[in-house]
């Protein structure tokens, strides 16, 4: 842990950051958590609102079993304790986008307990983030303050949508680690299909708890479990991109350090991140904090899960990113880095595995992770609907493997493939890109070249690295189709190197 905590140098000495995240992930469900109303993006204001969502008199919540299933699946994916008995509570506060006057959430008996997520840093090392809990709760509606100078409008389409709140322990020490954790969590959720992970639409967003402490304090906290060793935390609400998460943390940590170094005290409060000014500002202080008056929702029975049902559900889980990464490394001999790139989306890994069947897997991996992914991303395509099927990449690699084309020519072929000119073999055929392995033809080209450039041929004996010029010329002469290995061998012998 300590190895990766980043020290921030202040006027009075070094400081460290401690980060814990509450991630809100919208359950990928077609209907809301306690009403049959549809969930969807793009509907007109208040078009997806049932009598229950609008909290009409006498309306009652009925738990959506599908959402429960997604929460349990997610819990299993986080290697977490599934609580066979959990409960829904009311969190009471007034706001126009909260029609009931309370949010139905889970307070002290969440559906999922402690778990763990293994996260990769950019340098390839990993660290564990302990999950404290996952609970189900309703989302609120949306207040629109910008429609009219004198009025606020309320859109209840989102009201009652199911969210999973995933609470981590304060196990992240740098803004990069926090972003990496959210990335990893998102990958797991998307693998499980329990959340679409769309951060732009706000379907995945994070509340970031930031505090600072002196070096050594965090270790004391981990040893004793006592938060007294840590600084006072501020919660930055609803940050919805990796970049914002990092920027918000960087700003907030510096703000807290400045306060402390000026002899001040950090107030425990809720803050908002302003992405245009790159700063956080106070939303409400601890004194203004609501007393939510949580109590068990008397309209709902305790949620009891059948252990057999949980077991059956576990059996249906897809292969998760960590397991897939390990398997790709051992089955295909890929590097940890390449496997890591491939498992970011299960579609990527699927594409790779389809293309690698019977081929040089490392070569396939290179083509997928380099050429293909960069083309896809610049074209804004998902790999699942890549214009180039995996069989094309397989064929391209096959052409390299059997010596029909060189890797260099393959890049040219790939460009033509991307341009939609057909399958690799057709392109090679049509454009006459077959590699020249005929030593006679290559020898003739070399002889011609040496004869025309006696001075260079002499000079290369003094400076063997100048052979590159000859290689380039031969390749140019042969339209790049000469087998580079053959060219090299022949040049060396003819130049007497």
């Amino acid at each position: 842990m300590t190895d990766h905590s980043k020290t921030i140098q202040g006027r009075t000495g070094p400081w460290e950051i401690v980060l814990g995240l509450e991630v809100h992930a919208q359950v990928a469900s077609k209907s809301k958590l306690f009403s049959g109303a549809a969930v969807g993006f793009g509907a007109g204001p208040n078009e997806q609102v049932s009598l229950v969502d609008a909290a009409m008199p006498g309306m009652l919540p009925v738990l959506n079993g599908f959402c429960v299933e997604q929460a349990v699946k997610t819990g299993l994916g986080l290697k977490a304790q599934i609580n066979l008995k959990s409960r829904f509570d009311r969190k009471n506060y007034f706001y126009p986008d909260l029609p009931q006057g309370y949010q139905i959430s889970q307070f002290d008996q969440p559906i999922v307990g402690e778990g763990v997520v293994t996260v990769e840093r950019d340098d390839g090392t990993t660290f564990d983030v302990r999950i404290e809990r996952l609970h189900l709760e309703q989302d609120a509606g949306k207040s629109l303050h910008d429609q009219d100078p004198n009025a606020t409008y309320v859109d209840l389409n989102r009201a009652g949508t199911a969210l999973m709140e995933i609470v981590s322990k304060p196990d992240m020490r740098t803004s990069e680690e926090a972003a990496a954790y959210v990335k990893k969590l998102r990958t797991i959720l998307v693998y499980l299909g329990t959340c679409d992970g769309d951060m732009e639409k706000g379907n995945l967003r994070a509340d970031v708890n930031v505090s600072v402490c002196r070096p050594g304090d965090y270790e004391k906290f981990r040893e004793t479990g006592s938060f007294s060793h840590l600084g006072t935390r501020c919660e930055i609400k609803n940050v919805n991109s990796y970049r914002y998460i990092q920027q918000a943390i960087e700003y907030e940590a510096r703000r807290q350090i400045e306060i402390l170094e000026d002899g001040g005290k950090v107030d425990q409060e809720t803050r908002l991140f302003d992405p245009t000014k790159l700063e956080t500002r106070s939303m409400r202080s601890k004194e203004e904090a609501h007393d939510y008056r949580y109590f068990p929702d008397p309209d709902l029975l305790p949620l009891i899960l059948d252990p057999e049902w949980v077991k059956d559900l576990e059996a249906t889980l897809p292969e998760l990113p960590d397991a897939k990464k390990t398997r790709l490394q051992s089955q295909y001999g890929l590097s940890a880095y390449d496997a890591g790139v491939l498992i970011i989306e299960s579609d990527r890994a699927d594409y790779f595995e389809a293309a690698a069947k019977g081929r040089d897997a490392k070569l396939v991996s290179n083509w997928v992770t380099n050429e293909l992914l960069s083309k896809l991303s610049s074209g804004g395509h998902e790999i699942a609907n890549s214009p180039l099927p995996s069989s094309d990449i397989a064929q391209l690699v096959e052409l390299i493997e059997n010596g029909t084309i060189s890797s260099k020519i393959a890049k040219e072929v790939f460009e033509h493939m991307w341009a939609g000119e057909g399958r690799p073999a057709e392109i090679v055929e049509k454009r006459g890109l077959v590699q020249i392995n005929d030593t006679g033809a290559i020898e003739a080209a070399i002889d011609k070249l040496i004869a025309a450039n006696p001075d260079k041929a002499a000079a290369v004996k003094e400076k063997p690295q100048a052979i590159g010029w000859f290689v380039g010329q031969v390749m140019k002469e042969t339209g790049g189709k000469a087998n580079p290995a053959t060219v090299n061998d022949l040049l060396k012998s003819k130049l007497g190197l």
Binding site: L51, A54, A55, M56, P57, G58, M59, L60, P61, V62, L63, R90, N92, F94, P96, P99, Q100, G101, Y102, T152, V154, D291, R293, Y294, F295, P298, D299, L300, L301
Partner: protein
């Protein structure tokens, strides 16, 4: 037409079936009775046109031989039940003018069985009260008066409108709800029969919520058999209410008149409270004697946590109410008062829209759920609630039903207790325990006090054992021979 309004529900349905009169005639008689009794203030909304249309449709169904068990019977609906297209206010200002686009499950089932709606009945605001005096539309006057007195008496509450309307023959039966005694105490005060079934028997969907874990719908009727007939229609599993019980609903009328011989009847020592009027002591003793005569075995039982029931109730119910009533915020429906900012809009709307008793309970409920007080009040009350349920569990090892008085007094004068909330809360002392334990409880008229006012006895049953409750009630009804009616002064 007074002959038609004095019929019991059972007799009326039989008469309709025999073709002695039509539903239109029966309904017209009740509409006229309602119009003549406006001084009682039992109905706050009359729906004569809808009633006559429903009656005509019922007559047509009966002509085709497709009549349901309640076909053509005109009923009154407590204004806590949402009725599609008909104003539903819970007798509050904050919901004045609110017209639901949906029908509560319970009333839907009554209409499914052919009943006719006469209108909406007065109640204590949001069902909070024991005298019907907290209604935004003014109190209901009890049709009963003490002999030789013109003093206006309360019909009890919160289902005061329901009880008064049935007692005054304005309807053949009425829906009511009971959170702490709101069906049984008004029934006792008006010489009518009321039953709160086991929690979960009646769907709460479409019933304006007071305290979700305690609220149960039930009927107020003229006889035990009528109550059984109505309850059979009102009960049933509803997937839209997560606390609704998925259990079969028997025909409760079959239990009325069944022999009670050999049944063990528990008499709880703790219900002999200090200052209980001698007349109520005597009524209770009469009830015990009647059941003994009918072949029951009388068992002295103990329900030791009874004295904590009322305080626990007045924590749990306001706690839930404080949250349930948060939705009345002026944002989407009902009353909205202006304000300079959001907080002011909330404050002005709720200050103006809720009556004093409702505000009192919201404040109590908010307080007991607050940080620092939750454990001492709400959590403690939940523990008491569990003890009370355990008291009953133990009692059921020794008896099959329990007999108690329904209320500690007969109907009192309007205004007599309205400035003393605690005195008012004491009305529920014998009834709240069944709500806390989720048990069925029935009140039936069993005698008159010295001034000629009706007094009620309560029968408490095991969970889902309304059948035994109805059998015991039937036996008591027969033995008591209660036939007194309120003298018609209006």
């Amino acid at each position: 037409m007074s002959a038609l309004t004095s019929l019991t529900l059972k007799a009326a349905v039989d008469g309709l079936e025999k073709g002695e009169f039509t539903s239109v005639e029966l309904t017209t008689a009740h509409i006229e009775a309602i119009e003549a009794a406006r001084i009682l203030n039992a109905f706050i909304v009359e729906t004569p046109d809808q009633a006559l249309a429903m009656a005509a449709a019922s007559d047509a169904r009966r002509a085709l031989g497709a009549a349901g068990p309640l076909d053509g019977a005109p009923l009154g609906i407590k204004d806590l039940f949402c009725t599609k297209g008909v104003q539903t206010t819970a007798c509050s200002k904050i919901l004045e003018g609110f017209v639901p686009e949906y029908e509560s499950t319970v009333t839907s089932q009554l209409w499914r069985d052919g009943a006719v709606m006469l209108g909406k009945l007065n109640l204590d605001q949001f069902a909070m009260g024991s005298s019907n005096e907290t209604s935004y539309f003014g109190p209901v006057t009890n049709p009963w008066r003490a002999s030789g007195s013109n003093k206006a008496l309360t019909p009890g509450g919160s289902s005061g409108g329901s009880a008064a309307a049935v007692a005054a023959d304005l309807c053949l039966g009425a829906t009511a709800t009971d959170t702490g005694g709101s069906i049984r105490q008004p029934a006792a005060f008006t010489g009518t029969v009321g039953i709160k079934p086991t929690y979960g028997r009646c769907s709460r969907w479409g019933v304006v919520a007071f305290a979700s874990s305690l609220d149960q719908a039930g009927p107020i009727a003229k006889t035990v058999e009528d109550a059984a007939l109505l309850l059979t229609s009102m009960c049933g599993h509803d997937p839209k209410d997560s606390t609704s019980l998925d259990v079969p609903v028997p025909d409760f009328t079959q239990f009325v008149g069944k022999s009670v011989k050999g049944l063990r009847i528990g008499v709880p020592a703790e219900y002999r409270v200090d200052g209980m009027p001698a007349e109520i002591e005597k009524l209770w003793a009469d009830g015990i004697a009647w059941l003994k005569d009918a072949g029951c075995e009388i068992v002295e039982i103990s329900l030791p946590h009874t004295k904590y029931a009322l305080p626990a109730y007045y924590i749990v119910a306001p706690a839930e109410a404080s949250s349930n009533l948060a939705r009345y915020d002026g944002m989407r429906y009902g009353l909205r008062e202006d304000g300079a900012n959001l907080t002011e809009i909330y404050e002005n709307t709720r200050a103006s829209g809720f009556g004093d008793e409702v505000k009192r309970r919201i404040l109590i409920g908010t307080y007991v759920l607050s940080a620092g007080y939750y454990d001492a009040y709400y959590l403690k009350a939940l523990k008491v609630r569990r003890r009370i349920a355990e008291d009953f569990d133990k009692a059921w090892e020794r008896c099959d039903a329990i007999l108690t008085p329904t209320a500690p007094s007969a109907a009192f004068g309007l205004g007599e207790n309205s400035n003393d909330p605690i005195a008012m809360y004491l009305n529920d002392v014998f009834t709240v325990t069944t709500n806390l334990a989720g048990l069925p409880g029935l009140s039936l008229p069993a005698g008159l006090d010295a001034s000629g006012l009706p007094l009620g006895l309560q029968i408490i049953g095991k969970p889902l054992d309304e059948g035994t409750v109805f059998s015991v009630a039937g036996a008591l009804e027969k033995a008591a021979g209660f036939t007194a009616k309120a003298g018609k002064w209006w």
